[in-house]
Subunit: 338 residues, 2 copies
């Protein structure tokens, strides 16, 4: 049986309060001599403070809860989750917090899920690109501090990138190369990034006076498989765009693979642009022109702001990070111009 402060107190014939103060270095002062003896006995008994008992009183767990998009399968293999989580973990280490990743999201009973989020194990929450319904989110607001990543539509501090300006850079780049037939492989249209990039794409085309062709709009769901499936379709049609802007690198990669299999050369026959600047985008062949969004900074900023939120009870402002166009070898002038 693990030793408790009671055991220490009994052994030294002093009170548990003195032991507690000695162990924690306050808030009440304890004579040095007593302190030393307490620490000695603690070590001797192999005493470990029980954080659960402490949390029950202090209402602090020093733990931050991370709620994935949907506590879904295979989330740890998506570059978005990886990048943001990396920033969260790095910052958690610095700030002295641990990170609880919630799973068990049951679409059937969202209420039960909300219950677990509020069960006292986390001091605050970070929702990663949430799909959870806004109603549930709003109800949470009264009960626990939380922030959100990559979704400015929520009534919560948001940490993400400026999708509109990022997409504009992509379209400007393609237009400057001479492209006029620009398609879009959309992401998951249930998520803010998916919607925002799609709308930004349409807006950017319009501002260049280019027509939006519904036939050149595909859904890639942010996945490699989604990009591949779309590619199977695109590369079988005659009237296809000369360039496709993909909502993320993973789907761009799938599209690239489909092009390869169909014998469509990239970038000579079709230009492809991704989004994220994930590791695969630079390692692929050809390396993919993409938009860098600072995923790690997004995670770090969300974490920092949340801890601040918890400590001050002052709701922080969100941050929209700038993006950067990274031109690689998957884009060139359209074929007709060569």
């Amino acid at each position: 049986m693990a030793a408790t402060i009671k055991d220490i107190a009994r052994k030294l014939s002093i009170s548990t309060s003195t032991v507690s103060y000695a162990l924690n270095g306050g808030p009440r002062s304890v004579p040095e001599e007593v302190r030393v003896r307490v620490l000695a006995v603690a070590r001797e008994l192999n005493y470990r403070p029980n954080q659960i008992a402490r949390s029950l009183i202090t209402r602090r767990s020093n733990t931050i809860g991370v709620v994935p998009t949907e506590a879904s399968i295979n989330l740890a293999v998506t570059p978005y989750f990886q990048g943001v989580l990396n920033g969260i973990l790095n910052t958690a280490e610095i700030l002295g917090h641990d990170v609880l990743v919630y799973t068990r999201y049951d679409v059937e009973k969202p209420d039960a899920f909300v219950d677990t989020l509020l069960d006292g194990r986390a001091d605050g929450l970070i929702f990663l690109a949430p799909k959870i319904d806004s109603h549930a989110l709003n109800r949470l607001a009264a009960e626990i501090p939380f922030v959100v990543t990559s979704d400015e539509r929520r009534n919560a501090p948001n940490f993400g990138c400026d999708n509109a300006s990022g997409v504009r850079k992509v379209v400007d780049h393609l237009v400057s190369l001479g492209h006029t037939r620009i398609g879009h492989l959309a992401g998951n249209l249930e998520m803010a990034d998916g919607i925002d990039r799609c709308e930004a794409y349409k807006g950017a085309l319009a501002s260049h006076g280019l027509p939006i062709c519904e036939d050149w709009l595909f859904e890639g769901h942010f996945t490699s498989q989604g990009g591949y499936n779309a590619g199977q379709h695109v590369f079988a049609t005659k009237n296809r765009p000369s360039a496709i802007f993909c909502a993320n690198d993973d789907s761009a990669l799938g599209l690239l693979r489909a092009a390869w299999e169909k014998g469509v050369r990239v970038p000579d026959e079709i230009s492809i642009v991704g989004f994220d600047n994930s590791p695969v985008s630079s390692a692929s062949f050809p390396p993919i022109t993409t938009v860098r969004q600072p995923l790690e900074e997004i995670g770090a900023a969300a974490m920092t702001a949340l801890v601040n939120f918890i400590e001050t009870q002052q709701r922080p402002d969100g941050i929209s990070f700038e993006t950067e166009l990274i031109v690689r070898d998957s884009t060139t002038r359209p074929q007709e111009d060569i």
Copy 2:
């Protein structure tokens, strides 16, 4: 203030125990009529069970702790962590557990770290490819169930791959292509996978009667940068191997980049083999010949075994998963033979 079972009990003029039993559906039965009223009031008061208070009594948190290699920086961007964590999270969801990722490993005070591991928030631990000193691990064994990934030297159930046979497949493949000058870009030699693959490499060469040349042994630390640095050195020397087996894909990728920059063609001038079958290995140019280890299965098996361990108090056996050689385009016959 959040409602408690006391509030519900008071409102209904019944005892807290009845409320507790009604809410939990046992272990004592409660008349249906009472149960319904309790649930109604609970909903009305927006009652949420406090898991912390429950944990204090039950000594169960339904939370599994994951201890990264070293609660180090940037771990979420390594394919190993990603793959294994993915398996852990997927399985956690199924088994009804959440996952607490520990950070705050301070090399200066390992004891403090051990304290946090035992502070009651986790029912069991998974050490990912641990570097933590064995002494500390052994002390933990008496206090909490834990398993380990990718380290069979520990006195704990281990979930990993059969490095020896995986490496043998690599060497056999290279030898069958005609290579006799085979180098090794080692991983982190403080970690079991790094050591095991290096030793397996030496053993496999020996079994083919090939000499081991210390000049062809490099350290890549499992990182892309490490591989790149080694490449800077290798490709500047005349007497270099005709093939290099890298301890993982990330370092192979760095080596590939260095080769590219130095104008050394892959695979014509040098064959490169990786390990892991990470996403980049298939997307890179050329796609890298590699060894697939089932990272997700490793994580899933570790999680399943640990939960079982916790529930039965029976220490489970570890599992060594088989590997598979995946031949791609980064290996070919050595130049002299062409």
